[in-house]
Symmetry: C2
Subunit: 198 residues, 2 copies
């Protein structure tokens, strides 16, 4: 009574999984048409496969995107600043997540590592509007998914009012340095006309 050559079910499970993966917005009813089985079978199959219902799937996707939206573009500072002495130094922590890596290699895309350092360099300058004017950076070793980047910024020089500041940033994973950068930050004491990209 167990089964040899009782594939139709497993085959259907495969197809079902694939169909939903291809189009997560498909309803059970539509699936019955594609697979030519009753809606109850579809539902049993979903249960067995642990695939949630349409609305749950959409909710999950929405939540996932909502989280990554607020961790990416909404955050004007990338990484959590855990220490800040204005015009002197600062430390921030940023953990590399799925959203930050190349899918094929799980290596963080450079601009995220750059963004953490850049954000910190800007944050450490005590000014209403501070913008990056230039930077000189080194990626010392690739950063992988899950690694926690600790960036330390040191203000090296501040010249006068409405002028440039030099900030040096080192990023570590553990005690390994993975990134180093020298930033020139424009500070606009008073006026907000200035140069830079951030």
């Amino acid at each position: 009574m167990p089964n040899i050559e009782r594939l139709p079910k497993r085959q259907r499970h495969q197809q079902l999984t694939q169909l939903i993966e291809e189009n997560p917005f498909i309803t059970d009813r539509e699936l019955t048409r594609m697979l030519k089985v009753s809606i109850q079978t579809i539902r049993l199959d979903r249960m067995e496969l642990g695939i949630p219902e349409l609305r749950e799937r959409m909710k999950l996707m929405a939540e996932r995107s909502y989280d990554s939206v607020r961790s990416l573009p909404l955050h004007e500072v990338i990484g959590d600043i855990i220490d800040l002495e204005l015009d002197r130094s600062g430390i921030s922590v940023f953990e590399i997540g799925q959203d930050h890596v190349f899918s094929r290699s799980s290596i963080a895309r450079g601009h995220h590592v750059f963004a953490q350092a850049n954000s910190l360099a800007v944050a450490v300058i005590d000014d209403f509007i501070a913008l990056t004017a230039a930077a000189d950076i080194r990626f010392i070793r690739p950063v992988k998914l899950g690694e926690k980047c600790i960036a330390k910024a040191y203000v090296r020089s501040i010249s006068g009012e409405r002028s440039k500041a030099k900030v040096e940033v080192f990023t570590y994973v553990g005690d390994e340095m993975v990134f180093q950068g020298n930033f020139v930050i424009y500070r606009s004491a008073g006026k907000q006309e200035s140069e830079g990209g951030e």
Copy 2:
């Protein structure tokens, strides 16, 4: 019959808009508790404000993220590459959208401008895995919301197998140069052990 000093409704509309913006996953029922009005009022308000129901909101977010998930693999290159001569030069276009700017100033965050240039510098190198090792960059003027950035990359030198390439990138808005960068890209002919962040 029109109204002067009939704020409570508009005030509520404002609050409603804000509440939903803060937490798009809120139900009408929860909103009645926050705003102390009946659920019908909430629904009339949503109608007037053109705010779709919870499920519709989740669906939109899910669809948006689904689209951007499929444009994110393309997102490995930021900007549209419109011309590419491998190991020689390339051009990409990237329009600054809401997601790319500081809300307070509508100035593009530096890392997006950097990311376009960096992506192009990597793409122009004809190698399976190419990673940024270092960069020397200048933000010449701020880039604003809606501006179209045209990045041009030129390969300046390629040294041997499994070695460094130097790529220079200029980014323009119209005929104004807004960014300039010198990138050192590692190319790993064969092996994929190499350095860099991108």
